[in-house]
């Protein structure tokens, strides 16, 4: 995984230098990529694995993986700018107008890089259509999330399907299509299940943290905060008051211990992890039934279970 990060990171930089001729645009973007390389670049690896799982041979798969990671980087930057958190990130420490411009430039760059990774015009057309459909779906979901008025659990899971799962579908399907296959509904189904499972794990972390990214302190409506707000009145009374504006942030911020106790006594984190696991189990069942190279199916499972081996 470390070697993959390094190879894809180098390819991302190469693509940036080829297309961003304005020196500051290239310079800041290279800094952002260096920061991105500190994390696991799993989306690009999903593209790579699906390409090989379906016997791909003629595409520039490293460039395609880099293209997907360039889009994910753009998405991370926009998400942080919209949420106004993540103060340690380099894009939050330059004028936001510049970060916004770099993120929107990266979206176009990622599309250009993905299209150029395809070996022929027909495949480029199908890829462009697939990528834009997934990105538009994600944009719709992100808007619903930003509005923060999700009424119930079903609406929340649908928002996650649009906002987050569509990006997993993009990453996996890019590999499938670059291998010369058409849209694969089974891959789309399991990628969406995996995306929901992953987003819910992220929600558990954001529920239990106590900083600028805390979902509770930010009064975010997620599967888990909705669950907490449905808890018996003696547990959730003060939480409801905070969400309704009857308690302000400075007062709520002083109740970390009480909040964590409420989470524990209500089983909020366990509930989130069980729902996440249900979606992950559905992903595994659908993957098991897929007619594709078993070596790469195994490698996909290893990646997702945190066994990062270079092969």
């Amino acid at each position: 995984m470390i070697e993959f990060n390094s190879r894809v990171g180098s390819k991302m930089k190469e693509i940036v230098l080829a297309w961003f001729s304005a020196e500051p645009l290239a310079r800041y973007t290279l800094q952002f990529i260096a920061d991105k390389q500190e994390e696991k670049m799993m989306f690009g690896e999903l593209t790579n694995i699906h390409y090989r799982m379906f016997g791909g041979q003629n595409a520039d798969i490293e460039a395609a993986s880099a293209a997907i990671e360039l889009f994910i980087l753009a998405s991370d930057i926009l998400d942080d700018l919209e949420d106004g958190d993540a103060p340690s990130k380099p894009w939050m420490n330059i004028p936001h107008a510049l970060s916004l411009h770099i993120a929107t430039s990266l979206i176009t760059l990622s599309q250009q890089a993905l299209l150029r990774a395809a070996p022929n015009a027909a495949m480029r057309g199908e890829l462009a259509d697939m990528m834009n459909r997934q990105l538009l779906q994600s944009a719709n979901g992100q808007m619903l999330d930003l509005m923060n008025d999700i009424p119930d659990e079903d609406a929340y899971l649908e928002m996650v399907r649009q906002k987050s799962a569509s990006l997993l579908v993009l990453a996996c399907m890019a590999g499938v299509m670059l291998a010369g296959r058409p849209w694969h509904p089974d891959v789309a189904d399991y990628a969406a299940e995996l995306g929901i499972a992953a987003q819910l794990r992220n929600d558990i972390r954001d529920l239990l943290r106590w900083d600028e990214k805390s979902d509770f302190l930010n009064r975010k409506r997620t599967l888990l905060t909705l669950y907490l707000l449905e808890s018996p009145e003696e547990q959730s009374g003060w939480l409801k008051a905070y969400y309704a504006g009857g308690i302000d942030l400075s007062e709520a911020a002083g109740h970390k211990a009480l909040f964590l106790q409420t989470c524990e006594q209500s089983g909020a984190a366990l509930y989130g992890s069980v729902v996440s696991r249900m979606h992950y189990n559905r992903f595994e069942e659908k993957l098991a039934g897929l007619d594709a190279d078993s070596t790469w199916k195994e490698r996909l499972l290893n990646l997702l279970q945190g066994k990062f081996k270079e092969e």
């Binding site: 696991k40 987050s164 499972a197 366990l270 249900m278 997702l304 945190g306």
Partner: protein, 54 residues
């Protein structure tokens, strides 16, 4: 019903240990929910997909 079951389990160590041993009847909980619950109770560590978004 999954929500109710979890609220009961976290407030009863006896029920929790029975559930972990597969000895507790979980009324109104689907087989998929039951499997996921047992998976989580037995294996709490986070997997690689937990960090898709960091």
């Amino acid at each position: 019903m999954l929500k109710e079951t979890i609220r009961q389990l976290v407030n009863s160590t006896e029920k929790l240990s029975m559930a972990m041993g597969g000895q507790l009847q979980l009324a109104g909980v689907s087989s998929a929910e039951q499997k996921a619950l047992l998976d989580e109770l037995k294996d709490k560590k986070e997997s690689g997909y937990s960090y898709m978004w960091e």
